[in-house]
């Protein structure tokens, strides 16, 4: 979230609390896609995610008088969506007699194409990276998603995931270490590729 938007979020929120309900649509538009993407990582049921987002904003309007000021609407919305989705998923699992503990598995589909990187990887390296990410725990996946895809800081992540600050750092660190391990086995290849890349780049244009 850009710094200037964050400030803006704050003023929007206080306008909303002071009775200007129109600004809620701005807040909605600004965060709808991020919320939707986050929700879709927890359940394949797109309609459930959409309904949940709708309910969150309905609740905001209904409970406006009892809401307190926040300087971080995004955090507030992410927390609300997660709480809502976990509850809904548990409910449906109970109906289907599925073990409710395994509710809200975090399914992090990640970049499989590797097209956006300057680094050239061979097929085996790619496969290993895919395997590495697949082998992360759900909580690690969620933490990684919040940090790298959504760009949240550790304090925000710990609040969404109900962890203390240190644990959220450790969770992500362990996940990265795992990825780096796999990269490091290939680190010679990896670094050589980079080196070649760098050399090629620094060569003067003739």
């Amino acid at each position: 979230m850009p710094g200037h938007l964050k400030e803006n979020d704050q003023t929007l929120w206080s306008k909303f609390l002071h009775g200007n309900e129109q600004v809620l649509s701005l807040i909605y538009l600004r965060h709808a896609n991020a919320l939707f993407d986050y929700g879709c990582k927890m359940t394949p049921d797109r309609d459930l995610v959409k309904d949940s987002i709708q309910d969150i904003f309905c609740t905001l309007i209904k409970n406006r008088q009892n809401l307190s000021g926040t300087d971080n609407i995004r955090l507030y919305l992410f927390k609300a969506l997660k709480r809502k989705l976990v509850r809904e998923i548990q409910k449906s699992h109970r109906l289907q007699n599925v073990d409710s503990e395994s509710a809200a598995a975090f399914d992090l589909a990640f970049l499989h194409s590797f097209d956006h990187t300057e680094i050239e990887l061979n097929e085996r390296q790619k496969q290993e990276l895919v395997d590495a990410v697949e082998s992360l725990t759900d909580r690690q996946k969620e933490a990684i998603y919040l940090r790298f895809t959504r760009g949240l800081d550790y304090k925000e992540i710990s609040m969404i995931m109900n962890l203390n600050y240190q644990s959220s750092r450790a969770l992500i660190h362990r996940a990265i270490a795992k990825l780096r391990d796999i990269l490091s086995v290939k680190s010679d290849v990896f670094n050589q590729t980079l080196l070649i890349l760098l050399l090629r780049k620094s060569k003067p244009v003739v």
């Binding site: 649509s25 896609n33 879709c40 209904k62 959504r150 990265i176 780096r180």
Partner: protein
Amino acid sequence: MNKYKNYTPEDFLADDYFIQWLNDPSEEHEEFWKAFVEEFPEQKVNVEQAKFIVSMFQHEQEKLSLDETYDIWNGVLRNAKRPRVRKLVRMLRYAAVLLLMFASGALAFYLYENSRELHYNLTELNEAGSNEAKIILSDGSEVSLEQKESAITYASSGNQLIINNDTISQNQMDGREYMNKVIIPYGKKTMITLSDGTKVWLNAGSQLVYPSVFLRKKREVMLIGEAYFDVAKNVEKPFIVRTSDMNVQVLGTRFDVSAYPEDDFVAAILEEGSVGLEIKGNSLMTQDRQILLTPNQKLSLNKESRETTVRMVDVSMYTSWKEGILKSESEDLNRLIKKIERYYNIHITLKDPLVGGYKISGKLDLEKSPEEVLNIIKLTVPIDWAKKSNGDFIVMKK
């Protein structure tokens, strides 16, 4: 900067400033990290590795389509206005599904139609960075409109549109409205011919959302900013322009609507025919008001006080922008400057608040450069202007 000298990729990834750079780079970030790699070239490998790991997770994201975005919000508004009814409707909907299984689908269809009534209460900011004129199709794909003045024309079936000279086809299932959206930044404008033949001139800094084909009982579009409408007559299907603060309903007529988020007023000017205006209450709970306009009338609504004024005007003053001419009749310099800023996508600062109150009458040809336009204004009121090195203009008292 020295702090990062011995960082491993893990350390970089644990650093909030580093993550900020990759997720939402500002100029400051770019400069810092460029300078860092230049000063510590041996760290480039670690930076690249860290960047690579982040990039693995910046994949294509799930996106709501325009339809879905508006459907969710309409649901929120319906719920806010009639909290109790919603549950009932939901139950009735279930009941209707059951009924459908046994008897006829008429009730279900009725309820479905009703629940899909559109409420485009969405106001949007012209966020910085959306400086590109573009059309967003219902599947989320974007086509940029490169010319300063572009033309968009829909076939009556709605599944084909012509942008300038290119034809684009949209895959659409029958019986469903697909929303399209046009965004015009400051400094540009466009003309859209909708599938029903209605012509819309969209002014600089404006957005229009509309279905590619009108299938509902009403033809509804949503406007942010200013547009001039020449609505194709259809007595059966009223045409409604929704803005943040009021809705304009017509059967077939010509009028201008101005609803810029940055202005403290919204206005509707009627050229021909008749229009009904629905002024929205300040909160979602308050009642809406209805006002009828007759030709050559202008209604303006103060967004804060919710006061409305209706008066007779020379319509051409308000619609000549579509021919590239700004007409004004004892208009505040303040407002005129704002229009000029939008049209040329420039910044003009008034040095002296008094200057903003000067009344301007006359005609400005917007084909001319902003410098020439300011010189013409200079002839009528005692002002002078200067251009800063960053391209911004300053207007001051002479």
